[in-house]
Amino acid sequence: MDAQTLIARRVAQELRSGNLVNLGIGIPTLVANYVPQGLAVFFQSENGLIGTGPIPEQGMAHPLLTDAGGRPISALPGAATFDSAMSFGLIRGGHVDITVLGGLQVDAGGHLANWMIPGKMVPGMGGAMDLVTGAKRVIVAMQHAAKGKSKIVAECNLPLTSARPVDLVVTDMAVIAFPGGKATLMETAPGLKVAEVLAVTEAELAIPDKVPEMKL
């Protein structure tokens, strides 16, 4: 299983029936492919839709029905559309149960940086700040390290997305949560030992007595 698939499958296990879920661009988008059978989950696209469905079949796409990246999507029976004020009312108002976002850095306190590399990448935050500030549960789905450097850092040196800490980080190597505000290693990827995760993790992680492997 490649890293992205592993992350997406593990994140999908966090979904519960009835959840309203917002998936960011990149790895988070893949999560929709692994929703457990029988689970009724509502996916929100922040450009104004609840009930996002898969990419439409050839010739079935409509130019006025796209995801937040402008790519054609479909809508499921029971879908609802709305304007951006409503869409971000849902997000900031705590009506989105789970948001899954990519990350550049997450620090030991759970703070996320994912929208800017000063002087290098200044695309704008789009909906990320509202999502991290307002969603009931924030899950970061990202590679554990990039170019050999840990993305789980002691303290973010990139600009923060929100003062509100995230709830869960799922990487290709580990699941990290923040009980009591402290980064804690909850699971390792199949076949990985705790020491192997720690070796590529900059942040200090609390290690419970038992750290199970992800079940995928």
Binding site: S45, E46, N47, G48, L49, H62, P63, L64, L65, T66, A68, G69, G70, A75, T81, F82, D83, S84, A85, S87, F88, I91, R92, M116, M121, V122, P123, G124, M125, G126, G127, A128, M129, D130, T133, G134, P159, L160, T161, S162, A163, R164
Partner: protein, 215 residues
């Protein structure tokens, strides 16, 4: 509401005007008005738009010819020209959170001075803003935003200017239709009064100043 041609509509916009343009990555954008802005070579525009779309599409066309001087938006990462112009300091771009963007416009249209939002607290977005603590939570005061012109795209418009939108093309259009001194609308379909049922009207006709006639 007054029917006009796209040419007449855009001729009303002076160089240097502030314009709000509906749409999200080019979806729900009034393309005919943008094409006409390009054709009439309007310059020095203050663009208020969620994003910069991509070169050649939607509001992206305005960056292709350097017609934008200032922008307030939320994301321009998919338009390299807009990025270059910003990093090269040919244009100033104020990038703000999307929820804040839409609430500032809504406030402008609804006669509010602004809103208190938790979004941006503890981040770079705080810069220069007043912060208020209430019940143990911090909020930024985000002020109302209006424009000289709103360029709005609807799916249906009836003869008196009632508007309805389709699918994800609604996005910022209804809030912008309330927040500008002059509101200019294009619609994919212009239909008789009554085709849009009262409960399905999203933007009531009295908000629309000009409806662009279809060809």
């Amino acid at each position: 509401m007054k029917p006009v041609s796209a040419e007449e509509a855009i001729a009303m916009i002076p160089n240097g005007a502030s314009i709000m343009v509906g749409g999200f990555m080019g979806v729900g954008t009034p393309d005919r008005l943008l094409d006409e802005l390009v054709r009439q070579k309007k310059s020095g525009l203050f663009l208020i738009s969620n994003d910069a779309a991509v070169p050649g599409k939607g509001v992206g066309k305005l960056f292709d010819g350097g017609q934008v001087t200032n922008m307030i938006g939320t994301h321009i990462g998919l338009n390299p020209k807009a990025q270059q112009q910003m990093l090269g300091k040919q244009i100033t771009v104020d990038l703000i959170p999307q929820g804040t963007f839409v609430e500032r416009i809504r406030a402008g249209g609804c006669g509010l001075g602004g809103v208190l939002t938790p979004t941006g607290v503890g981040t770079l977005v705080e810069g220069g803003k007043q912060k208020i603590d209430m019940n143990g939570k911090s909020y930024l005061i985000e002020t109302a935003l209006r424009a000289d012109f709103a360029l709005v795209h609807a799916f249906l418009a009836d003869y008196i200017g009632n508007l309805a939108y389709a699918l994800t093309a609604r996005n910022f259009n209804p809030v912008m239709a309330m927040a500008a001194d002059t509101v200019i609308v294009t619609a994919e379909n212009i239909v008789p009064v009554g085709v849009i049922a009262p409960d399905h009207v999203v933007t009531p006709g009295p908000l629309v100043d000009y409806l662009v006639a279809n060809g």
